[in-house]
């Protein structure tokens, strides 16, 4: 079963359209949503969570239509939003009690364990937390009610590199269970590169590509060579080319490049930036 299926999802705003988005997140996998500001990442997540109305298409979460089985499905979905969304006056203890009365499968012991792991002070008000601590509390809540799907909107932003690394490891651990999946959007593409099985590039409301991360890294590469040498490559091989007085570089399809031409690996971040520039 797929954790998430999005078919022809469309949402129109004045000046912006999320246009016929199609995504499939298989169970047990992590998909990263990458895109510049205003690309449609948060709109996609809001549509998945029914915060806004779609103009077309369908969303299926854990086998159920996102609108018909909304309440039942949300028992199985853990969410961390960019603005965590907990009331400022609440303490970690109070949040735990509220969630225990909200989720049927709330696991207080797991919540306490995660709060301890994140060094969250039990009786300090949310308003006195740093952004990183707020995110950590959001993550602790999302992972304490037996969720099978985590939806994370910029959940690693605001965390220092050490904690970010720890959180990324926790997400990896979460998906060791084949029934667990994650959809994560982030500006920090290096986190997604470390974490994700699938990468989806959004640009101006359109899906540029959605592919297995390893396949992307196998498929694309960078060539650094004199401009004349790059000009020998076929048009199909070159996705993006930049020339300067020190030489030239090109994003290429590895399969279309002659074997004698050295190709260096491309990072997901580079790939995304170059594709957006070319688009």
């Amino acid at each position: 079963m797929n954790a998430l299926e999005i078919k022809n999802l469309t949402k129109r705003y004045p000046g912006f359209t999320l246009d016929n988005l199609n995504l499939i997140l298989p169970s047990g996998c992590i998909m990263g949503l990458v895109g510049e500001n205003g690309a449609g990442k948060s709109t996609t997540i809001k549509l998945i969570l029914n915060m806004i109305r779609k103009d077309g298409g369908s969303i299926t979460i854990l086998g159920q239509d996102s609108q018909e089985g909304a309440i039942l499905t949300k028992e199985d979905v853990g969410v961390v939003l960019d603005e965590v969304g907990l009331p400022e006056c609440l303490t970690v203890r109070q949040v735990g009690k509220i969630m225990a009365n909200t989720f049927k499968q709330w696991d207080s012991a797991e919540y306490e364990r995660l709060a301890g792991r994140f060094s969250l002070p039990w009786d300090k008000a949310f308003k006195d937390f740093s952004r990183g601590m707020k995110m950590k509390l959001g993550i602790a809540v999302a992972m304490s009610h037996g969720a099978r799907l985590l939806i994370l909107d910029e959940a690693t932003s605001g965390l220092d590199p050490v904690v970010r690394d720890e959180v990324v490891d926790m997400f990896s651990e979460f998906t060791r269970d084949e029934g667990h999946s994650i959809l994560i959007s982030s500006h920090i593409v290096s986190d997604l590169e470390k974490l994700c099985d699938y990468i989806a590039f959004l640009h101006k409301g359109k899906l540029m590509l959605c592919e297995e991360k390893d396949r992307l890294l196998d498929e694309y590469g960078m060539v650094h060579a004199p401009a004349e040498r790059l000009n020998e490559l076929s048009e199909d091989a070159v996705l993006y080319k930049k020339e300067s007085r020190y030489g030239a570089e090109a994003l290429v399809l590895r399969s279309q490049v002659p074997k004698d031409m050295p190709i260096s690996p491309v990072s997901i971040e580079e790939l995304f930036i170059l594709m957006v520039k070319e688009a």
């Binding site: 969570l49 806004i52 039942l72 969410v79 009331p87 006056c89 009690k97 009365n101 939806i151």
Partner: protein, 208 residues
């Protein structure tokens, strides 16, 4: 639903503590000056604003968006606020009622008719404002709700002045208490229920 109510309870404990002091002070003054009913009525008006205040904090903390990810319906989110409104109003209604009974007993001026009329006005004050303001808040947000709130206050004050002038000019405006009191109570409770329904409809269609 229980979680939503518990959250509002914690928020009330944190944000509305000062209300307790104000309510006590106003009720104490109403004891000493029984010619001015403002001091007796104001605590009820104040407490009727509690759910609106809580909603305002919810908006500021992005709780409304977050609550969309929780296993509760939009109708439950709306209902939690209406239930909090009913609970706070009920508490104030009882406290003010007891205070008025004590005041009448102490001053040896116990008049059941006056007490019942007073309680009807209290019910009106406690439920009217949230009943009018909440649908606006659930459709357009707290900022616009505040504008409506002040407009309603203005209309009530203007209405009060007009009624006072009519009374001065000896125009007969009163209904028999036996009809007026139940009519006011039924109307305001009906309005509250309709407002509840309207807010659910508005909030279900709102984009968060």
């Amino acid at each position: 639903m229980k979680g939503l109510l518990l959250k509002d309870w914690y928020m009330m404990k944190s944000y509305c503590r000062s209300y307790l002091l104000i309510v006590t002070a106003f009720l104490a003054v109403s004891f000493m000056d029984d010619s001015n009913l403002f001091f007796a009525f104001y605590p009820c008006i104040l407490c009727s604003m509690i759910p609106i205040t809580l909603h305002s904090y919810d908006e500021r903390s992005h709780w409304l968006q977050y609550s969309a990810s929780l296993p509760c319906s939009r109708a439950q989110i709306v209902s939690a606020k209406y239930l909090i409104g009913l609970a706070t109003s009920l508490v104030m209604f009882i406290v003010t009622g007891i205070a008025q009974v004590v005041r009448m007993r102490v001053s040896d001026a116990m008049e059941p008719g006056e007490l019942i009329a007073l309680m009807a006005v209290l019910l009106l004050l406690a439920l009217l404002m949230p009943a009018i303001t909440f649908p606006v808040i659930f459709k357009w947000g707290v900022e616009k709700g505040r504008i409506v709130y002040y407009v309603v206050i203005g209309v009530i004050c203007a209405g009060g002045v007009i009624i006072a002038q009519l009374v001065d000019t000896d125009v007969e405006v009163s209904l028999p208490a036996g009809i007026a009191v139940p009519a006011i109570c039924a109307a305001v409770v009906g309005l509250y229920a309709f407002s509840w329904y309207l807010s659910i409809v508005f909030f279900k269609n709102r984009e968060l």
